[in-house]
Symmetry: C2
């Protein structure tokens, strides 16, 4: 269980295992991006990743785990990108938060099928996926509190309890709005407007 590697933080395991894991997540990503939740069929993922079905299940114990893990990877990448971006534009916390949300939302809406697949999985997850879900939640909260203080004197202080509470509420609204959009119950414009209203209500400086 350890030969010449342990380079990345990603996951433990041999290079071959890390490679399989990556191939599986890539295949998931492609299928989801192509045809959404329904197109991510376990046999299809296994085929495309060139692993056996049993191996796929050994790496990810369910379709939901698989998709939520893919989502977590996306969030990680998104977070890394944001870090490189420097200070977030906007004169008030509300403006900066809205900027970030719109940016992220636009990214998601640019790949609707993928977003549908990931959001669905997120919503359907049970406690066995709690760890992955928590990762995503923390990622989102961090992103939001960061936006609130970005470029401010308070930038490098810990977010207050109220900051975190507000971030969580915004996260909830965002998830609901995304859900409504993904399921075709509201348009992209409505989603954006609702989000903006919510941020306005919560962050009246």
């Amino acid at each position: 269980m350890s030969t010449t590697n342990s380079l990345t933080v990603e996951e433990l395991g041999s290079a071959a295992q890390r490679d399989r894991r990556k191939r599986i997540l890539d295949a998931t990503y492609e299928l989801a991006s192509d045809g959404g939740f329904d197109a991510v069929q376990m046999r299809a993922v296994a085929d495309r990743a060139e692993v056996a079905l049993g191996t796929l299940y050994r790496y990810f114990p369910s379709k939901i785990h698989l998709l939520v893990s893919a989502l977590a990877r996306e969030f990680d990448r998104n977070e890394a990108m944001l870090k490189e971006m420097g200070p977030i534009p906007g004169g008030t916390a509300a403006e900066r938060v809205i900027y970030i949300m719109k940016r992220t939302t636009r990214g998601l809406q640019g790949d609707p099928k993928l977003t549908e697949a990931l959001t669905r999985a997120f919503m359907f997850a049970d406690s066995s996926v709690a760890a992955e879900i928590h990762t995503v939640g923390m990622s989102l909260t961090t992103m939001l509190t960061h936006a609130m203080h970005s470029g401010q004197p308070t930038e490098h202080t810990e977010p207050t309890a109220e900051d975190i509470a507000i971030a969580r509420v915004i996260g909830d609204v965002w998830l609901s709005a995304l859900m409504a959009w993904v399921t075709g119950r509201s348009t992209a414009a409505e989603t954006g407007a609702h989000l903006e209203t919510a941020v306005g209500l919560l962050l009246r400086d």
Copy 2:
């Protein structure tokens, strides 16, 4: 398509059809209450309701429709109960809203499996269930705006756009919190606390 009936507003159809519909929803309710989402198996529902599988699908085109319809019926009943209850206790809008939310949440948490089944279905619904979802959403929004104004001079005026926006945000938070609770990712206490915080942030009179 009309002999001696058309008594209730419930649904169109003969008495036998209304009866079947009720038996199906009752069976759904019982199975959900017993074993949650997974226990609501279409064959089991059909058996318990004493209808054929094909008939079940004729009444409800999918498991999700079935569960969301059951949820809508519960919300109707809840709304009727609230109407009979008279003015909602609490000196501020926030207090009244929290009162209502806690009351409803407590009701749901008293039957965790049922709540799990209904919430899951709600989250998994796509646009083909939009109508039912919209019903539930309106029901919730109405309940909340009503609570905000209950016993106030403004009681019988239309809720403002801001009222509705706030109600929607609270609804979003509630759904997320319920989701987290249902999937075992947070406790009942945490759910309540988060909700209370959110209401406090949104309704600082």
